[in-house]
């Protein structure tokens, strides 16, 4: 419940916070990090539901296509499945790599979906940089957030 509330708060303040500190696209994807956290500590079902719910809320607040972010966070979920086959989920280094891989997959699908459904956005070199920076920063910060959440005892007994 706390993670759901945290996820909601992130969606609500993300636009305002990002406009003050750093361009939103470069910022770590905290929702993706929370999905990975839930997958790690609560299992695939909780992570899947969280990804789906948070995607829907993001779609309501965003000016983009309806369903876009629901699909993207399900891509993050799929990225975790893929990542845990390649890296060690229990190791902080592995967690960072899994988060980075998931965020990269999310960005890849983002550009594919927008190329199909929207005429305005085209792939550019800057988009590639933004995706890489966001994926790396998400991966680097993920083990720290996992550790903080675990210290706050946001893990199942």
């Amino acid at each position: 419940m706390f993670i759901w509330f945290l996820g909601l708060i992130i969606v609500l303040i993300k636009g305002k916070w990002a406009s003050l500190i750093v361009p939103n696209q470069f910022a770590p994807d905290f929702t993706a990090i929370l999905i990975v956290y839930l997958f790690l500590y609560y299992g695939p079902a909780a992570a899947g539901m969280f990804a789906f719910g948070q995607g829907l809320v993001m779609d309501i607040y965003s000016g983009g296509l309806y369903g876009l972010f629901t699909l993207l966070y399900l891509c993050v979920y799929a990225g975790i499945y893929l990542g845990r086959r390649l890296f060690n989920f229990l190791d902080p280094k592995g967690q960072a790599l899994i988060v980075s891989l998931s965020v990269l997959l999310e960005k890849l699908f983002f550009i594919i979906i927008l190329t199909i459904f929207s005429e305005g956005i085209i792939f550019s070199c800057s988009f590639l940089w933004i995706s890489v920076v966001s994926a790396i920063s998400s991966g680097l910060i993920a083990p720290v957030i996992f550790s903080l959440l675990s210290r706050q005892k946001v893990i199942p007994v």
């Binding site: 305002k16 406009s19 995607g55 829907l56 309501i60 296509l65 309806y66 369903g67 459904f117």
Partner: protein, 281 residues
């Protein structure tokens, strides 16, 4: 038992994926508004967003005030010398004001029926960063409906794309999915202004024979059916004549500073496109 669980997992995945595809395909190519469930989510979560927004604003205000106090002595000296210069300037403006008042009376006469406006506070920005939209703290209960134009003192901000009883979503003119029918104020050439980024827009479909130049003012044409005529949209940044293209390549600086958007005005008018669809039905 394990087989049954994996069977349910597969079906759950298929249903979730199908639902997302349905959402995506249902709104491609046309605008849709919030449905009842989404309105409920907005009504429940937006007060929280409003509270967070107010907290951030007051913290920022307090922080800036603190720094302002540090510099206040230096500013005081500087301001005294500025006051003398402004006194002289003031007398000139008084004269201009008298002329302006006369002109305003004349304008009131010609525009005797003006649409009413309602002020709203910006409580949230687009959480994704890829799209440009805002959430405002006025909705259907305040008389706001779809496609109403949103402006501020500097010019066009956007249009209403979704409403709930107490909140509404505004698609900003700088969004890549937004387009506004506009005029170059000086030359009267028409074109479509589309968003590129938060600081630059482009104006499409301006014919090559047009003599539009940098610093020309762009205003709404009133032909799109949403924005009234004559609202400032931006200023021409540069104009390029690209060989092999039918139209000029024009970049525009938006009139509104979208990074400092806090209050907006919604022009309350009838949704003409909605009426058109109803008449057709």
């Amino acid at each position: 038992m394990r087989g049954i669980i994996s069977f349910y997992k597969i079906w759950f995945g298929i249903i979730a994926f199908g639902f997302v595809l349905f959402l995506l395909s249902s709104n491609s190519g046309r605008e849709i508004t919030w449905n009842s469930a989404e309105q409920l989510i907005i009504e429940v979560t937006a007060p929280l967003q409003k509270l967070i927004n107010q907290s951030i604003n007051s913290t920022r205000g307090f922080w800036y005030n603190y720094f302002d106090l540090i510099n206040v002595r230096q500013d005081n000296k500087h301001l005294h010398s500025e006051i003398d210069a402004l006194k002289m300037e003031n007398s000139r403006y008084r004269d201009l004001l008298a002329t302006h008042k006369r002109m305003q009376e004349l304008l009131k006469f010609t525009n005797s029926i003006k649409p009413p406006v309602i002020a709203a506070q910006v409580i949230g920005l687009d959480p994704t960063g890829w799209f440009k939209s805002i959430i405002i703290d006025k909705g259907k209960n305040a008389g706001i409906s779809l496609n109403m134009p949103v402006v501020n003192a500097d010019g066009v901000v956007g249009k209403i794309v979704s409403t709930s009883p107490n909140y509404a979503k505004v698609l900003l003119v700088i969004d890549q999915n937004s387009s506004v029918d506009c005029l170059v104020q000086r030359t009267r050439d028409r074109g479509m202004v589309k968003g590129l980024s938060a600081v630059i827009s482009k104006m499409d479909y301006v014919v090559k024979r047009s003599d539009v130049v940098a610093d020309d003012i762009i205003i709404t044409s009133g032909l799109g059916g949403i924005f009234p005529k004559g609202l400032p949209v931006g200023k021409v940044l540069n104009v390029k004549d690209v060989q092999g293209k039918l139209f000029k390549d024009i970049k525009i600086i938006p009139a509104v500073d979208f990074s400092k958007l806090e209050e907006v005005l919604v022009i309350l008018k009838e949704d003409t496109s909605l009426n058109y669809h109803l008449e057709k039905e």
